[in-house]
Symmetry: C2
Subunit: 380 residues, 2 copies
């Protein structure tokens, strides 16, 4: 068995996955038809990927369990980016881990991430480093107000962030984010947000999906739609490719961008994993982001990232509405994550497919009518 | 909880499935995104659906296990048609079983099946009943030679059949099929074979996929392709709908037809389940036959049966070829059933999707080149 492939013979292959949430669940659903079994490592009591794969329940620093996982799996990957470096070190000593550790190091730290973007000539908005109260004043001077204070590490879905409208609010914001090393980001005139989902193989081949136009509410993604005619897609591909090459990346990566009023891209952040804004690729592309991630990390050839017809993805936040109503909308594909309902929790998504944009729009209106009042995140 | 739906509240629902082969595996993969868990009953040591669902390992006449299955599952369905009537009786006493028992009774007996077709005015080829040697001579007189002797019950994929070229071969053919009650079918001038995959809901609504053009080798399906322009589709829909209504059918049913030289349909047989010739619906239709079967039997609204672009399904028989080569063909979707290789065994299928028929043809040629010599079933 070579390092480049997990397929030694005719036997089923095993892929280790750190984390066992909905992304892991959808990875496993894509892996089964390839005869690849996912083995998850996750300490959480409820981990919705366990319905579709084996799970080792242990903390990420459990050396013994990490050794078992490495022994069982010729390749280990992950479905969330905040894996401790020590975990990756322990695994890397015994097996192959994709994406590479430096991709996680960058994605885990907003400062390193912005510095990488700058080094690669990718435009970023104004920002300043804040290591403590001594930096407050210079940071405000540098980026202006209003601004957003974000902890450098462990930011996810709006957590670890605080708005700063006036300079005197900074101490409170600093407390809110846990007095951790942070960056202060100047507010940018944001028109819209797009993301580029891409995949890079072990031999360096890269493929890109159509740019996704994303809508957020309360810091969470609520809607994503492929935009085959996206004028900025070429720049997004170029930036995404540059980051993947710089990091020696293998697997699927998402790059989120702000689009300014001048229709210029500003880098927001990367996610070194399959991404919510790429869920439409399950039905909307020839080969989904989940299958392409598995293909890349296991050494299989990349699949076709081309878009198939019109589609839109709508997140289900808080709870899944009555199945019969949602599934009665033409072209509705329900993806229920099997998670208990909880306010603000991503519990599923719906992808709508249709022959054309007019039909799609009508069907989306029907879904949104069903969701209104149900999740509270789809007001329009 | 009503009889018409398995969704009592917000909890995950459970669907019982008799049989745990590849059809069960693909049912379970379609069920997970709907938060429906499949619980299989199958006595076989190797049952490839166990990777994606729970399995009760017991014989189909194990009353105790049947009671457990019925207690756990508000609806039970099946993935193969030769379920003993006593099994269905035992289950029906405690839970809902779809499709209905009479559909299985008809599908299990070639004579009852042909009689139903005749009663509904659906053309069938010449046939005669053979209950023993006393019927040989009259049967040959009635249908002519050459002919095919088929046992009335338990016929599947070319088993239980024997060719009869001359009258004196009939005793040998009779032995070959186990001296069981049979029908002798006159050979028809067969130009091609099509099937109609359809789904019927509990409220009687019916939806039909595009007709599938099917190619068989050695009595096994090797290739299936949707034919949106199939001139005979209207007749196939009409016949399929008539059978489903006559049987009070709920779920997905397949109806296989011969197409004669005069472009007339002749009924071959029905399968009261998801069907190999409908596997292309996973990528090639908005809602797959697997999801639509689950929707129908669990009381959810039916999904869109419309075709999405060009596609073709190619069976993998005997063994799955080297994954890397097959998956390198553009638009190739591998469906590996996780079964051990064995000559003549269906171990997987590949569906090719493409933007147009020209690209599809080229990619199919590439797959067939890889399969040639590998399975021995794809000579052209």
């Amino acid at each position: 068995m070579t390092a480049s492939s997990i397929f030694g013979g005719s036997e089923a292959a095993r892929l280790g996955v750190l984390g066992a949430g909905q992304l892991g669940r959808m990875l496993a659903l894509a892996a089964h038809p390839l005869d690849i079994e996912c083995i998850f490592l996750d300490p959480a009591e409820s981990a919705c990927a366990v319905d579709v794969g084996k799970r080792l329940r242990a903390e990420f620093d459990d050396t013994k369990v990490l050794q078992s996982l490495a022994a069982a799996c010729p390749v280990v990957t992950l479905e969330f980016e905040n894996v401790p470096a020590a975990t990756l070190d322990a695994l890397s000593a015994h097996t192959t881990v994709w994406p590479p550790q430096q991709a996680l190091a960058v994605a885990q730290d907003r400062l390193l991430e912005k510095q990488l973007f700058q080094r690669l000539g990718i435009p970023v908005g104004p920002f300043a480093t804040i290591d403590g109260p001594q930096d407050f004043s210079a940071a405000v001077d540098a980026v202006g107000l209003p601004a957003i204070l974000k902890s450098r590490r462990m930011g996810y879905d709006g957590k670890g962030q605080a708005m700063v409208e006036r300079a005197e609010e900074l101490p409170q914001a600093w407390q809110t984010i846990g007095e951790a090393p942070a960056v202060l980001e100047g507010r940018i005139s944001l028109q819209r947000e797009i993301s580029m989902i891409a995949v890079r193989a072990q031999d360096g081949e890269m493929r890109f999906y159509d740019a996704s136009e994303n809508l957020h509410r309360n810091g969470m993604l609520v809607r994503a739609q492929p935009r085959p005619d996206e004028a900025l897609a070429a720049a997004a591909r170029s930036h995404t490719g540059a980051v993947m090459e710089a990091l020696g990346y293998v697997g699927v990566m998402a790059f989120e961008f702000f689009v300014g009023p001048d229709e210029q891209l500003l880098a927001n952040e990367i996610a070194p994993r399959v991404h919510n804004s790429g869920h439409w690729t399950i039905e909307g592309a020839h080969c989904s982001q989940f299958e392409n991630h598995i293909r890349a990390v296991t050494g299989l050839p990349l699949g076709d990232t081309g878009t198939r017809g019109a589609c839109v993805m709508i997140n289900l936040i808080g709870r899944v509405p009555e199945r019969r109503a949602v599934m009665g909308v033409p072209g509705a594909h329900l993806h229920h994550y099997g998670k208990a309902p909880r306010p603000g929790r991503k519990v599923g998504h719906i992808t709508l497919t249709a022959a054309d944009m007019a039909a799609l729009k009508e069907n989306e209106a029907a879904v949104l009518a069903l969701l209104r009042g149900s999740t509270g995140n789809h007001a329009d």
